[in-house]
Amino acid sequence: MSHVKSLADLRKLKEDLQGKMSLREKSNHPESMVQVKVAMATCGIASGAKQVMEFFINEFDKRNIQAVVTQTGCMGYCYAEPTIEVTVPGQEPIVFGYVDTKKADEIIEKYIKNGELVEGIIPVKYQSIEINKENK
């Protein structure tokens, strides 16, 4: 019979990761990291926001990019879901619409790594997502 994982196995995982992660955590100043917020309200979820969020979490890890990926409520662009907001340190946040995993890959490789603009930017006078949420 195959082994079914339990929380005890997490301890093993933890030991494996400890060296690698503790190094990373020391440089964990959120302002110095790429931030991605994925809109996770009904319209976002129905159009695939969950896969997009999962993709960013795993790909940032694989590609060794320091980033925080979080979910947020409705950003107000239901017509363009899934939408995400990307903030590269020192730059204004940018909202991208119609993000699938292919677009997400392009955003990582071109925009986040090289600062090149990619299609799909939603022009907004910047307001933080938190503010939009309060107003709704």
């Binding site: 196995d9 995982l13 933890k14 309200a41 969950k50 979490i57 940032f60 409520g73």
Partner: protein
């Protein structure tokens, strides 16, 4: 919504938006009573009594200027289509509880989908919120609490890809045990 796990993600997002710091997600598969129930209880800001009836009314939005969304009406409609129901109780300042029942064997009941990834995503990307997940079937039950995960990690961040993937696999493996035995 394609499956129940996406509905859960959606309903829990309401709790997060309501400022909840503790969110319980309980699933009960009761084949004897032909019911598939899900309950989400949070300690967020709650819903005012006068809004309570209206939040699940799909026509509410069109009749007023206040924006009320699609999440709850959609879930209610999907549950009722299977002979089930949705009920909400809420106390402003204390929290909200959503109880939804689907007909277990009804052909229109969506499948559970990847609940492992839904719960893992919620737990690992909201470190300040305590999630308590409980899934019970006739063959047993599985429980996971954010606090136990944090304790096991002993200082290591819960927000990381390896932890996310571990939790996802762990939940799904354990559910398989109580579903097919």
């Amino acid at each position: 919504m394609k499956d129940l796990s996406l509905h859960i993600l959606d309903i829990v997002q309401n709790s997060i938006s309501a400022g909840a710091l503790e969110i319980k997600v309980s699933i009960l598969e009761d084949q004897d009573r032909d019911q598939y129930s899900m309950e989400i209880i949070d300690n967020g800001r709650g819903i005012k009594a006068e809004d309570l009836d209206r939040v699940t009314d799909p026509f509410f939005t069109s009749r007023t200027t206040r924006k009320v969304g699609m999440g709850l009406p959609l879930l209610k409609q999907n549950a009722e289509r299977t002979g089930g129901s949705l009920s909400i109780s809420s106390t402003p300042g204390k929290g909200t509880s959503i109880n939804v029942v689907f007909g277990w064997s009804n052909i229109d009941r969506p499948s559970m989908g990847d609940i492992g990834s839904t719960m893992a995503l919620l737990i690992s990307s909201n470190p300040a919120i305590r999630f308590i997940y409980n899934h019970t079937t006739a063959s047993g039950s599985f429980k996971l609490d954010t606090n136990e995960v944090i304790e096991m990690l002993d200082g290591l961040s819960i927000t990381s890809a390896p932890v996310y993937n571990f939790l996802k696999e762990m939940i799904n493996e354990n559910l398989r045990e109580i579903q097919f035995s």
